[in-house]
Symmetry: C2
Subunit: 235 residues, 2 copies
DNA sequence: CTCACTTTGTGCATCGGTTCACAAAGGGAC
DNA sequence: GTCCCTTTGTGAACCGATGCACAAAGTGAG
């Protein structure tokens, strides 16, 4: 009984689905550790914190890997999702900017866990160049292009100050990198075909503050009624 | 000419809009520093990296704050967005878990910048309790409830190991917190009405890897043709 | 004042994503 | 084999968000 592949898998998995696959993968790994052999969409959905219909539709984009009346084989599904996400290969990651955040990232265990390997640390500050962090030598930013080439880096993490981020981004793009994870609080402009993902702590906090304000407003009897603005503002 | 408020502002700004307001705010602050008095939706949209129609629709949810033929008054718009996001008040934030990441967050400047103040650091490890980080004393997690109450903390940042996150979340929720920023790689379950935002480094990397794989697949002539799975997998 | 020009605010078509609800498929008992 | 139970995979309705395109509103020149 050879399993047929993917009438449903022409090309193009919805972006929203891709963003959830890592979540399913994590939940499945937990289940595999606990020795579960199969899991239903309902159980997996609960573990991942999503609706079960959504989960099934997501998985159906990868192919038809479940068994009706039974569920999904945990190990097999782990393999399929891993392969789809490209985690069966090894990705070399370079971290640029070894300040507090860069250091934290370099030492972050979960980073390395699945398929990713921190292959280089770079910084512009001669004070930190040469330091040994998480078993790696911090190299000078001048070496950027050479290091990327030599170590086969394909994903770059930007943890530089905001002012330096665009400049570094230009250089890594010129060096052939097409995947960037940006922690600097700036909107980077890059050519078509380069993927940027942005993690912005202060934006997350501001979104929380918005909702928190709404909640406390509601408690104290609606928002400030007459929403005047202070005279500090000159129009 | 007193400006009328918000026929368009009944209540309820779309979530997608809320998520972009901080972006606009950052772009506007940059413009204010450079001394610009007014800005068109087109220019602001470019600076924030969005479509100008979207920008105008977003701003229209706050009220009608532009002037046709002219644009938006930079300072006035900064004030309005800040007020809407709740940044005109001061938010006390507690960081739980003072490992590499917690330290980085405590020292992160952009954190404090607008309206947010790190008011407490907590950890379970007696080794780090008592340390002084970013001008704050690290307190023991046993003090959690007391510290939250005493310092008026309303937002909690979780930077604990995955295994501890749910337990801490339960405690802070019990202590009345309704806004949590979670860096631990777990799906937290919390009661209705509690807002959780999740930042997950490894998920971001996995999404990048997915797209990167697609790109390199395309270069090397399509995805691995016969997608067999290794015999390692037992069905 | 009128006219030409700029830029906002929004109606409308469209799109992607979510959810419901159910037919189809498989397993197991007998 | 038949029947019943479980669970998948998906059609279809729905919902929110996006982007086009334009009327309405304001500025400034003459």
């Amino acid at each position: 009984m050879i399993r047929r592949l993917s009438q449903a898998r022409e090309r193009g998995i919805p972006e929203a689905t891709v963003a959830r696959l890592p979540l399913y993968l994590r939940a499945l790994n937990g289940m595999a550790e606990r020795g579960l052999a199969t899991v239903s969409s309902e159980d997996l959905a609960v573990a991942a914190g999503v609706n079960s219909a959504k989960l099934r539709k997501d998985l159906s984009h990868l192919g038809s890997y479940g068994t009706r009346g039974v569920g999904y084989d945990v190990e097999y599904l782990i393999y399929q999702i891993s392969r789809e996400l490209g985690l069966t290969q090894d990705w070399a990651v370079a971290i640029v900017g070894v300040g507090n955040l860069g250091r934290a990232l370099a030492n972050y265990g979960g980073f390395v866990s699945r398929g990713f390997r921190v292959a280089a640390l770079l910084d512009a500050d001669p004070e930190v160049v040469g330091d040994r962090i998480a078993g790696l030598n911090v190299e000078h930013i001048d070496e950027l292009e050479a290091v990327i080439r030599r170590r086969g880096v394909s994903i770059v993490v930007l943890a530089t100050p905001a002012a330096a981020a665009q400049q570094v981004a230009d250089r890594v793009v010129a060096a052939g990198i097409t995947s960037i994870l940006n922690f600097a609080p700036v909107v980077l402009s890059v050519p078509e075909g380069v993927d940027i993902r942005k993690v912005d702590l202060s934006i997350e906090l501001q979104i929380l503050a918005f909702h928190e304000q709404r909640k406390t407003d509601r408690m104290t009897g609606g928002p400030a009624m007459a929403e005047e603005w202070p005279e500090a503002v000159d129009l």
